[in-house]
């Protein structure tokens, strides 16, 4: 067995040092400097300007690509009318509830499968069978069961997001170091105590990785199901505005959803980094 020998003194190599030799070391150093936020994100600004210009200069039909400034104006109107906030809260409630259920049930299931041989023999093949299933196929059946409202979306997100969490929890818990388990037992810990003190924390990094996949899936399934059938929510609003030809407003909602998805991932990563700060 090899054990990583860390001195704790040397700083970890920066993001640039692992890269194969580049051509422009000066430029690269500038980019790898994280404080230089503006330079790093300037390509997005360039894209936004190109969008505005293409639309203003009639390079693209302003119907197909309304100017970004018009989209911004439409966004403010949507906020003022309350449409965006109302539909947004409804969407976030569905995603949050479905995801919370998926994490609780999926995480417990994964740990259970890792510590119990019979549970693994019974549930393992089913998890393996259902994991690769494209979960969007469940949209019609959740509607069939629970109708057009919140229930069907929550069920869909729960079913669609559970297995990545289960697999993460399972792999993490199964990989708990035998010596850690023995140490805890030699210090007098037993049964559930060992589970909670050793198995669950050992599973945490992989479990949280599974949750990140689930988070991305939750947004995909939320928007998909709301686009296909809904009377409320971001997806519904996008479809409704598109059908009425208010393309500026439609673009405004699309960008809002995309941004919330991005933001959720970044916030999640920050939380995880804090929770796992005991690692290297």
């Amino acid at each position: 067995m090899t054990v990583a020998f860390s001195t704790g003194r040397g700083k970890p190599p920066g993001p640039a040092s692992g890269r194969p030799d580049g051509k422009l070391p000066a430029l690269r150093r500038l980019i790898s400097n994280r404080s230089n936020f503006l330079l790093r994100y300037s390509p997005l600004l360039i894209l936004a300007l190109a969008w505005e210009a293409a639309s203003r200069l009639q390079l693209a039909s302003s119907l197909a690509l309304p100017p970004l400034t018009d989209v911004a104006r439409a966004w403010i109107e949507l906020i003022q009318s309350g449409d965006l906030v109302g539909n947004g809260l409804s969407s976030l409630y569905r995603a949050g509830a479905g995801l919370a259920l998926a994490i609780l049930v999926g995480g417990a299931l994964g740990v259970f499968m890792a510590v119990s041989r019979p549970a693994n023999a019974m549930l393992g093949p089913l998890v393996e069978l259902f994991y690769p299933m494209p979960k969007s196929a469940l949209i019609p059946v959740t509607v069939l069961w629970l109708g057009f409202g919140d229930g069907s979306k929550i069920l869909l997100i729960f079913l669609g997001c559970m297995l990545p969490v289960t697999i993460g929890a399972y792999n993490g818990a199964r990989g708990s170091d035998q010596h850690l388990l023995w140490s805890a037992r030699s210090m007098g810990a037993r049964g559930l105590r060992v589970m909670w003190d050793v198995v669950v924390p050992s599973a945490l990094p992989e479990l949280l990785n599974g949750v990140r996949t689930a988070l991305a899936l939750a947004f995909i399934l939320l928007v998909s199901s709301e686009l296909v059938v809904a009377r409320q929510g971001f997806g519904y609003l996008i479809g409704y505005l598109g059908a009425n030809g208010s393309y500026e407003a439609m673009f405004a909602v699309v960008l809002t959803v995309a941004f919330i998805g991005f933001l959720a991932d970044r916030v999640y990563q920050a939380v995880v980094e804090r929770a796992l700060r005991w690692r290297e």
């Binding site: 980019i31 390509p43 023999a121 093949p125 494209p134 969007s136 998909s224 699309v254």
Partner: protein
């Protein structure tokens, strides 16, 4: 003459043990559906669903729909795979490209691109082009990220020894960087494939026409729950088969890699 060895017997027993829970689930579903606890509308029995799948197969609709779905999913996936590896390799080797694309990729990856579906329909219409575009848009991000990360983590010593033996820049890419990054690139493709399938089903549901997703939506509109469940089963089988094929491909391609020797 083939002999029944211990290993073969064990493999058979292993397969049977893994099949048992699946058979149990099917039996439980059948019994529950027939018990009258729920209406056949809410949960048709597996036998009824199988019947419906056989009808679709005999009528030929099933194969047309599977063909349409597979074509869109695999075409989109292939474009995303090739495009993603090329873009990733360029980003890993060229600082300017990295500067331009890095924020776009890192901001775009976590976004639910599916929200752009109405925009894509507005631009490209309701046919295959927009469905395939949607698949590419969703599936390309994991491939790019995996390629960049894979190439970035190639050990310096490997590059230096290749250089030392006289390899040129172009040879480095094809003979060292891409093969060494292959495990991670394949992982990226394995993430991208299920995404491609999820997206193709949603686009078909949204836009209608041929395809398994469209057929399911059609059945749902006519309150035909057998059709809906048949669709779920068909899509699940396609998904399972494609993911298994991808895993097989990975084992073949990575026979040299440590993980290839396991199991």
């Amino acid at each position: 003459m083939a002999r029944v060895t211990d290993a073969m017997r064990r493999r058979f027993a292993w397969g049977a043990a893994r099949l048992a829970p699946v058979v149990t689930l099917l039996a439980a579903w059948e019994i529950f559906a027939r018990s009258g606890a729920v209406t056949p509308f809410m949960l048709p029995a597996p036998s009824a669903v199988t019947e419906r799948i056989c009808e679709d197969a005999l009528g030929g609709d099933l194969f047309v729909n599977i063909g349409a779905t597979l074509y869109r999913a695999l075409m989109g996936f292939a474009i995303a795979a090739v495009g993603g590896v090329v873009l990733g390799a360029v980003m890993a080797r060229n600082a300017l490209a990295r500067w331009f694309f890095d924020p776009i990729i890192s901001v775009g990856f976590p976004m639910p691109k599916i929200a752009f579906l109405p925009v894509i329909i507005l631009w490209l219409g309701l046919y295959d082009v927009s469905k395939i575009t949607m698949v590419v848009l969703d599936a390309i991000f994991p491939v790019v990220t995996a390629t960049v990360a894979g190439i970035a983590s190639v050990e310096k010593e490997l590059l230096w020894s290749a250089r030392n033996m006289g390899a040129k820049d172009r040879e480095l890419l094809w003979q060292i960087l891409l093969p060494a990054a292959l495990p991670q690139i394949l992982t990226g493709l394995q993430v991208a494939l299920p995404i491609a399938l999820i997206v193709v089903v949603v686009t078909e549901m949204q836009m209608g026409g041929y395809g398994l997703g469209g057929a399911m939506m059609q059945a749902s509109r006519f309150a035909n729950s057998r059709g809906v469940f048949a669709g779920i089963v068909e899509i699940a089988i396609i998904g399972y088969a494609l993911v298994a094929a991808m895993a097989w491909l990975r084992r073949r391609l990575l026979a040299w890699h440590q993980e290839g020797r396991e199991g």
